[in-house]
């Protein structure tokens, strides 16, 4: 495997252009968390003409619902959740300037089209490696929707968070390429 590219957020349009499907990345800096319920609320807020709980421009959202932290831990296990459940909401956030999403699993055409149109990448983290990933999360605090518990929006500071660029801003898709390469008919 190629050497990993170090990325520090915010993730600007210039940085995006360098990222290609299949690249391994190590992400440092601030990332935000959100999954089904938080996305629903964020898009409802946009529908009402309200502000989002954080400015999504050039930011990265990690689809995760972590475990509670044990005493002494920053956060409990925190691996990615399946992304397609956010597909109906993601294009709205991409339009608003979101440039990175981290999750696992397939995305629909609407999301990929929005990524190509506005410039965004979809990165995947290893599903079922939540204990390993939690070690790269150095700070975490809830900044919105506290009542949602594990689904609340958190602002996290990560250091060398491991991920793989799966769909780049041109729409190249490692899920399709990888499968094709190893398929035996």
């Amino acid at each position: 495997m190629k050497r990993a590219i170090r990325l520090t957020t915010p993730l600007t349009q210039e940085m995006l252009r360098e990222l290609k499907a299949g690249d391994s990345v190590l992400i440092s800096g601030t990332v935000y968390t959100g999954r089904d319920a938080a996305h629903k609320r964020m898009v409802e807020a946009l529908d009402r003409g309200e502000e989002l709980p954080f400015d999504v421009k050039d930011q990265v959202i990690y689809y995760v619902g972590p475990c509670p932290a044990k005493p002494g831990q920053v956060i409990g296990s925190a691996g990615p959740t399946t992304s397609y459940r956010m597909d109906s909401y993601a294009p709205r956030l991409i339009e608003k300037g979101l440039t990175g999403m981290i999750g696992k699993g397939l995305r629909n055409a609407d999301v990929v089209n929005a990524m190509k149109e506005h410039g965004a990448v979809y990165m995947v983290a290893i599903g079922g490696a939540g204990a390993l990933i939690a070690r790269t999360i150095k700070e975490a605090k809830v900044i919105a929707y506290d009542d949602l518990g594990t689904e609340a929006v958190r602002e996290m500071v990560v250091e060398d968070f491991p991920a793989i660029v799966c769909i780049d801003a041109e729409g190249n898709n490692l899920y399709e390429q990888g499968k094709l390469q190893y398929r035996q008919d």
Binding site: S24, C67, P68, Q73, K104, K179, Y182
Partner: protein
Amino acid sequence: MRTIQFEQIVSAVEGLCIQANTIIGDDVLKALQKARDTEESPIGQTILGHILENDAIAATEAVPVCQDTGMAVVFVTIGQEVYIEGGALGEAIHEGVRRGYEKGYLRKSIVKDPLERVNTGDNTPAVIHYDIVPGDKLHILVAPKGFGSENMSSLKMFKPADGVEAVKKFVVQTVENAGPNPCPPIIVGVGLGGTMEKAAILAKRAVVRHLGHHNEKPHLAALEKELLEKVNQLGIGPQGLGGRTTALAVNIESYPTHIAGLPCAVNINCHVARHAEIEL
């Protein structure tokens, strides 16, 4: 009659919930190691290495292997000579789940109503399957089930004329449709026969079977092997990013069925194949 105390069951289930969520069994670890050593995709190999590292961290630090600590599925096999003192068996299991998820810092992922969706806050209720058998033992198996993979499961009522070919196609198609979503490498559980709900329970039984064991019926053991090969030819690979290791096992459980039917359920489990059991 043999008496078992309510509290004894509660604390056993509490321990099993924590154990299942933090310690991956040797059978699964061995299968993952073998996959890492044989996987052809470099990305796939790295991923399998990270998964093994993750599982080692979880076991040593007693933290959950995966943040989706699941809905607690509990298989209870109770001897009919067992008497439970101090409360109902079902309540003892729910209470054990409640305490285990609290004390183990496990995620609470259950909503009270499938449409209204308010979290119950303590990961109860569990889904419990009971079997009543001769004897005076109580066997409890806890298998927390994550929904990334549960959501990729499927069931179909075939005609007898559709036969084994339809079953094969359906199993492979279900894995193909799931793609990267259930966090491959996966374990595929197939339930054949019975009625609709029986097939689904058989499929769940099949995913919690220890890896390396095959169906006792030679034709089903052969089908398990054939399906594993077919599934691993799909190219999905670790985390769906391409490779040879899409599944670690295909396990089939069967039951007699009606002259007019061939129910087939496919339950998908991720590599976080959790189950812990105890006999009281």
